[in-house]
Amino acid sequence: MPQWSRTLIVVALLATLGACTRNGGPVGEPNQTEAELAKPAGPPLFEDITAASGIQFTYRNGEDTANHLSILESLGGGVGLIDFDGDGLLDIFLPGGGGFAGADKKDIVGLPCKLYRNLGNGKFQDVTAAVGLDKLAGGRPWFYTHGVAVGDYDRDGWPDLLVTGWGGVALFRNVPVDPTEPKKGRRFEDVTAKAGVDKGIEWATSAAFADLDGDGFPDLYICQYVDWSWKKHPKCQYDGKTDDVCPPRNFDGLPHKLYWNTGHGSFVDVSKQAGLLPGGPNQSKGLGVLIVDVDGDGKPDIFVANDTVDKFLYLNKSQRGQLRFEEVGLISGVARDDRGNSNGSMGLDAGEPERKGLPDLWVTNYENELHALYGNISKPGRPFFQFRTAAVGIAAIGQKYVGWGTAFIDVDLDGWEDLFIVNGHAIRYPTGKESRRKQQPVLLHNRAGKFINISGQIGSYYQTPRLGRGVAVGDLDNDGRIDVVISHTNEPVAVLRGVGGKDQHWLGVQLLGKDHACVVGAKAVLEVAGQKLTRFVKGGASYASSGDRRLIFGLGQEQPGRLTVTWPDGSVQHFDHLAADRYHRIEQGAAQPKP
């Protein structure tokens, strides 16, 4: 064998030694399989209603204002679904991103966020200014934003809004326009400083609310990314000649933040006391967060998608008034992929794709990496997961995507949770070619625990590659079919109406805690034709986004059997004879659900 070849083989072996982290390089050339996918094998499962919806909004990352190629530009924005006015229709909040200003274009400035009120029938109205979201407290302009989290932090029964971004977060309390006249509607009040979350944030990405200590008040977890700044803004190239956005390995991970909700309208930063890891060169770099009870002990645990370093699984050991967590990512099997590589992880969700009654954890990763489905085989006190990606057929989609926002979503209401993923490259010129930057979404259909790629059935939205980032899923029109709202970088937001599962039955459940207590960590089990379907109440999930917290059970042609709800405090309630094809509001302790 020629020496050259021998050397190259050694080089190739070395490549396998290294973790497949973000070094650039896509594999996104369309191939035959992809082309075939574009031809739908069945009717479209979504209808793109953006044009008629009244939503005309684009998240901007600032690359049109300066050619810095900063890592700040790579993250994009999310989507928040929030029924802010209590009319039963989910409204849509959209972070606006930002840009660069000043003489040297190094002033990082924000662009306005938007709130679109759901008018019904697929129509939305921009109410940003009317509800006070056009500016921050004191008339200050928006900062450079990324994500959104929704939660009723003050337990007044009205969902509040937290917006993340570069240099800080903003917490908005949902208040009546006129306390004496409820009919005058709702507005938002910037309570960031008052609530004590105005300090210590350098670069916040995703956030999630959940009651972590069992006092009913949602506490707050905020992911932070890396310690990039203009002082730490190296030049990076992936092909030896083209300047591009630097990978996260060039920076140290920032410590994430955990805020304990005092119950009196404020939060206390308890990150250190609670046991959160401190960040550093090979730690943190957080992009996504999901809160769900993984080991069935009733306490919601925190799962964090970190970029190019180990993911975190913080096992909840808290007691009332005292947040305590133990990081068990590695030992429980969710920190890395099946080869022991830390991945460039972005989006995440929890679901029950194999119907085992425990929440499996799902993570979207960078290109050249498999997305990860971690099958949950935890026992109380011993969380443990198996890497299921190959076994359930997800590996067949390949590793050419840079996956971001994602969600379990039963697109055809057959009771098996499918997977929706949006994609788009993080760098500007993947292997020197901007054409490889935009990517198509992926829809994986769950056929009794085995996933099949049916992306072509997404409908017309599938046809155009985009720079996808945040995704929020929810039932915008309350028809039981889940709709999808997608944020892209520098391209308009898309609204897709779910049209799958026609003639199939479904059951919707909204779990309400006693006295508006937070119910993240609760679960509902529905018996259907001898099978048990489990759905979990989650905090956070996807990427920088917040979706519908109601639970949907696809029933196929069946009717619902007994519904068993396990509340975070461990109490259990059973409900029989629930009518199909509608939502039921179930309040903890109440004997009967409300319509």
Binding site: Q3, L14, L17
Partner: protein, 407 residues
């Protein structure tokens, strides 16, 4: 009368014999020329096809008959150099010079020899020569590419491979070479582009097909990889890497049954193959049979002790079996391998920017050696010594590795 007649007959016999002998001699000479010419041609072809041992043997046979052919001497020197037989290459060059070979060609070949022996002083001159538009420039470029790769100047290797392929767009070795370098940067789209081109231009090349299939599997397109592995299986039915590739495709595509059948078959023939053992263990983990996976993975770790991925699978398996103490010990090993991999990655990136930094070369060499990569480790340590002859750590490590060094 009789005597005259006899004399006449005898003289004619002599003439005929002489003529016949001359004809025979001419035919023999022509045949000899033709035969030696064929040896030379075949030697040249083997050299062009990078079959250096074959080229060397054919050229040696040719030169035993035509020892004064200076051009052939040069080719023999080149073949010997490419086989790293530098003494033989030097001897052939010396005789080429004696036989009146082209001074420029001999000089270039000598510079190439020096470079291949580790003296990079001729690099600037050779780079200039490589820019010419002739056959010798391609020879120069090939050696420069080798040098780029040996010294981990991978960006330069890409540029040189690009220049080579501009002139010989379908060259199999260059396409495979550039694909490999793309892979090193994790630019799999570009690697796939080169491998696809290699397969298109050389549809019967098993090597090209195997690289394409392997890379398709690496990037996670098992459906397409399967097509190529199947093609290979028809030609290389016994090759383990082909059958392993097939099994990996089946596993990725969710066909665990076929994957298991193949893997069990291979393990029947090669029970200690680490890669196959690892795949078999992972398949058992997929099937949620950790107890079954444990012996496969334990043996895989024994076979591939430096592969952190294998150790990690074993760690996961032990945890799943509840053998936490043993798992912790395996994880400690994984952590050490991880730390080395991480540092090695940093060193490699820095070396691309500072290829002559002796300290980096030394550190990288030690890390390679510690992780079972003896060949490249020794090369890096030698480079460290070349850039800094006082580098004691490199000298000591080479000594420990049993590598003799000039005083």
């Amino acid at each position: 009368m009789m005597g005259r007649a006899f004399q006449w007959v005898r003289s004619r016999r002599v003439t005929v014999s002489l003529v016949a002998a001359a004809v025979l001699a001419a035919a023999g000479f022509t045949g000899w020329r033709h035969w030696t010419g064929r040896l030379l041609r075949e030697g040249e072809e083997a050299l062009a096809g990078r079959e250096f041992a074959k080229a060397r043997e054919l050229l040696a046979r040719y030169l035993s008959h035509r020892p004064g052919d200076a051009d052939a001497r040069l080719l023999a020197a080149r073949a010997a150099r490419r086989m790293r037989d530098f003494d033989e290459a030097l001897e052939q060059l010396r005789r080429c010079l004696e036989d009146g070979g082209s001074a420029e060609a001999i000089d270039i070949e000598y510079q190439l020899l020096k470079l291949q022996r580790g003296d990079d002083a001729p690099v600037p001159q050779l780079r200039k020569r490589a820019a010419w538009d002739d056959a010798l420039a391609l020879v120069v470029l090939e050696t420069l590419i080798q040098y780029d790769i040996d010294t981990y100047r991978l960006h330069q290797a890409l540029r040189d491979l690009g220049a080579y392929l501009e002139r010989r767009p379908d060259d199999l070795q260059a396409l495979l070479g550039r694909g490999f370098v793309w892979e090193r940067f994790l630019y799999f789209a570009d690697a796939l582009g080169d491998y696809r081109q290699a397969v298109a231009a050389h549809p019967n090349s098993e090597r090209a097909r195997l690289r394409l299939a392997d890379t398709l599997l690496i990037v996670g397109t098992p459906e397409e990889a399967l097509i190529h592995y199947r093609w290979l299986a028809e030609r290389w039915a016994g090759r383990i890497e082909v059958r392993l590739g097939l099994a990996q495709c089946y596993r990725r595509l969710g066909d665990a049954g076929r994957a298991q059948e193949l893997l069990d078959q291979i393990l029947g023939e090669a029970p200690d193959n680490g890669a196959v053992l690892w795949e078999r263990g992972q398949l058992a983990l997929d099937a949620q049979r950790a107890a079954e996976a444990e012996p496969w993975l334990r043996k895989a770790v024994e076979a591939l002790p430096y592969d952190r991925r294998v150790s990690y699978s074993f760690y996961r398996c032990l945890l799943e079996l509840g053998r936490d103490d043993e798992a912790a010990a395996v994880n400690a090993r994984v952590a050490r391998l991880d730390a080395d991999v991480r540092r090695l990655g940093e060193v490699r990136r820095e070396v691309m920017n500072r290829p002559e930094d002796a300290a980096l070369r030394c550190e990288g060499g030690l890390l390679f050696l510690r992780n079972g990569e003896r060949e490249i480790g020794i090369r890096w340590l030698r480079l460290a010594l070349r850039f800094d002859p006082t580098c004691e750590a490199a000298r000591r490590a080479l000594d420990d590795a049993g590598v003799s060094l000039p005083p």
